[in-house]
């Protein structure tokens, strides 16, 4: 499974993803990390991923925040599954304000178990 992880505070979650991959997915996850939106390059390439995990408040150097990144991905024909990773508590209302559909949210603090459970849950959805 190919995962794109957009997270500015990578050092706080990177290890959890690594453990999650090794313990729960037998190293089958290919996790690529991006601290801001432009590092990813051509957004059309996101179609090659199975899951995009996006933090809403990306680095201040990022061209787009999480909401705008999600909005851009949702415009693509072939979209990966989406999962929001956040420390903020009012993301749902933020999505509604921007007229974005419901997207599963994984609230920080997170550990490998939380990440594994959430990935499995999201990937089960159609």
């Amino acid at each position: 499974m190919k995962i794109a992880l957009f997270e500015n505070e990578l050092h706080k979650v990177e290890v959890q993803f690594d453990i999650c991959n090794k313990v729960f997915f037998k190293d089958s996850l290919e996790i690529n990390t991006f601290t801001n939106s432009q590092v990813f390059g051509d957004i059309n390439e996101i179609s090659n991923y199975d899951l995009a995990i996006i933090d809403i408040s990306l680095s201040s150097h990022s061209d787009k925040d999480g909401y705008n990144l999600i909005a851009q991905i949702l415009k693509l024909q072939k979209q990966p599954k989406l999962l929001i990773l956040t420390g903020s508590g009012n993301i749902q209302s933020g999505l509604e304000e921007r007229k974005l559909p419901f997207i599963p949210i994984m609230e920080k603090p997170v550990d490998a178990v939380d990440i594994a459970n959430k990935i499995k849950e999201v990937m089960k959805t159609k």
Partner: protein
């Protein structure tokens, strides 16, 4: 209301006046020998005059002009054939001029002077006709003098009308809490009043604007019309002139790219501010209008306007102060939210370290490779977690530091004991107008109450009172009292009330115990919000507090120390 009273008075005077004419005429007829008509004719015409007057008053033809015509017809009849140079006869002829100010028309403002102009021709015709159609200047001089006096009176009345109209609008502005947009209403009314006022209406005012002198510049404050851009010819000399002359006229002004040459500038100093009013007119101002306009009509009105702008300026300033306070609070809440966001993120390595150790324990001991991996990860995360704990506590300090917390009372002011009494009494009366207020003062004289000071923050004191009063509203019967006790070193404010049957006494007694106790308050405060505020703010303002419950009466005492 005053206008109505005035109208009714004038109606009464009008009736009395006709009787006066009647009796005066009767005296002339009875005391002089050269009667032109017989007694029956005089009595008949007099009766006809009185009856006609009352019929006219009640009819739809009740017009000032017709009443005046009736008066003069009667006067001409009485004076017919009598020497007009005789004072008594002459006086009867000018009596309607003297009485003109008592005109009983409903709209006196518009008619009073017009009515006088009706009177003069009747009077002059009477003088010439009764003088056997010969022109005698001597007889006309008193009428000319009366015309002059009327002119002065008219000028005075005009000024009074302008002032009362504009002052009324400005006063309404204060009471009706209008905003900046409605300021134009004042200007519109002022322009309309000037343009309809005798002596100055020829100016035809087009616009009025107010500027303020700041750093040798004229900055726009407000205007009767929308001004996007403006400029003045030779501004330094204009400002110099404005500062030295009561009225500066004829200076070129460019407003919204249009040039105006008929301009009037006048300076109104208000406290430390210098307001400059610019009046744009269609015609240039004459010397007479200049004097009338500046000295007697415009200056008092503009001074009043200047004061209004000054009040508005101060209100806006205090509004900005309040908004700044709100902004500080909003910033603080945002900061706290950010910190919580940060804390949640920073807890991830800590949670992860603990989870990794659990995963390590749960991994089969035979799976050495995995256990080694997890152990290695645990060690690296443990160090990371420790550094994150330090980061979290540093951020928490930012929020917990009192000096940065806008909810912690930082500003204290000194107030007299009398001011403390007034603020407390007003709050109590606003909520419980029929409840008792008792003042016990056996140690301080009245003078001390206005001299001795105590220190508090009035906003937060009112918050305490709001919480106290809200509790009383919920849990008290009608039996409640505010007790004010002045002692030599402190003031004791006691809120006393009988508790109603909604109160669970056991719970109340327990809460009172907790409220008075310092030992467990940090635990209890989580469950008693209103009480928390009272205690917290009292504590911050160093106000003593004590609650008690005795004989169905609940009491809360606040003790405020008097400054030495």
């Amino acid at each position: 209301m005053l206008k109505q009273i005035d109208y009714h008075l004038r109606v009464i005077f009008s009736i009395i006046y006709r009787f006066l004419i009647f009796f005066y005429s009767l005296t002339i007829v009875l005391t002089s020998k050269d009667n032109s008509f017989g007694t029956v004719e005089y009595l008949g015409v007099s009766l006809f005059f009185i009856v006609s007057f009352f019929l006219l008053r009640k009819s739809k033809f009740n017009k000032p002009f017709l009443r005046l015509l009736l008066d003069y017809c009667f006067i001409y009849f009485i004076l017919f054939g009598r020497p007009i140079s005789e004072f008594a006869n002459y006086f009867l002829l000018i009596l309607p001029i003297i009485n003109a100010s008592n005109n009983s028309s409903e709209n006196i403002d518009n008619v009073v002077f017009c009515k006088r102009y009706y009177v003069y021709p009747f009077c002059v015709i009477g003088i010439i006709a009764l003088n056997k159609f010969t022109f005698d200047l001597k007889l006309l001089i008193p009428v000319i003098v009366l015309v002059c006096i009327d002119q002065f009176l008219k000028l005075r009345q005009t000024i009074e009308n302008v002032h009362s109209t504009i002052f009324k609008i400005i006063d309404e502005f204060y009471t009706k809490n209008y905003g900046q947009k409605e300021l134009t209403i004042i200007y519109e009314e002022l322009i309309q009043t000037i343009n309809t006022t005798a002596y100055i209406r020829n100016l035809k005012v087009k616009a009025i604007s107010c500027f303020i002198i700041k750093a040798d510049k004229l900055l726009l404050v407000n205007s009767s019309n929308y001004i996007i851009e403006y400029s003045f010819e030779d501004l330094p000399s204009l400002i110099k002139e404005i500062n030295t002359q009561p009225l500066v006229t004829g200076r070129s002004v460019v407003i919204n790219k249009e040039e105006y040459n008929n301009s009037i500038f006048t300076l109104i100093a208000c406290d430390e501010k210098k307001y400059v009013f610019l009046i744009l007119t269609e015609k240039s101002i004459s010397l007479f209008s200049k004097r009338i306009l500046s000295r007697v009509i415009l200056f008092p009105v503009l001074r009043h306007l200047g004061r209004l702008f000054e009040t508005q300026f101060r209100l806006n300033k205090s509004k900005i102060d309040v908004l700044q306070g709100l902004k500080n609070k909003s910033d603080y809440v945002l900061k706290a939210t950010e910190v919580m966001h940060y804390v949640k993120g920073s807890l991830s390595p800590i949670k992860s370290a603990l989870t990794t150790s659990k995963l390590y324990d749960a991994t089969d001991v035979k799976d050495v490779k995995m256990r080694d991996y997890l152990l290695e990860q645990f060690v690296s995360q443990r160090d990371h977690a420790l550094s994150e704990i330090k980061n979290i506590t540093d951020r928490a300090k930012l929020i917990l530091e009192n000096s940065k917390n806008p909810y912690i009372i930082q500003v204290f002011k000194d107030y007299t004991l009398y001011e403390l009494f007034v603020i407390t009494q007003r709050k109590w009366i606003d909520n419980f107008p029929h409840s008792k207020i008792t003042v016990k003062n056996e140690v301080l004289d009245i003078k001390s109450l206005t001299e001795k000071m105590c220190s508090y923050n009035s906003d937060y004191l009112l918050i305490i009172y709001t919480d106290v009063i809200s509790n009383i509203e919920k849990y008290a019967t009608e039996n409640k009292e505010l007790l004010f006790t002045f002692e030599r070193d402190f003031v004791l404010i006691t809120f006393r009330n009988e508790v109603n049957n909604r109160v669970e006494l056991k719970k109340l007694i327990k809460t009172i115990e907790d409220f008075n106790s310092n030992e467990k308050w940090e635990i209890h405060k989580r469950n008693s919000h209103g009480w928390t505020h009272i205690r917290m703010y009292c504590h911050q303002m160093r106000i003593g507090y004590f609650a008690r419950y005795e004989n169905s009466m609940y009491e809360l005492e606040l003790k405020i120390m008097i400054k030495k």
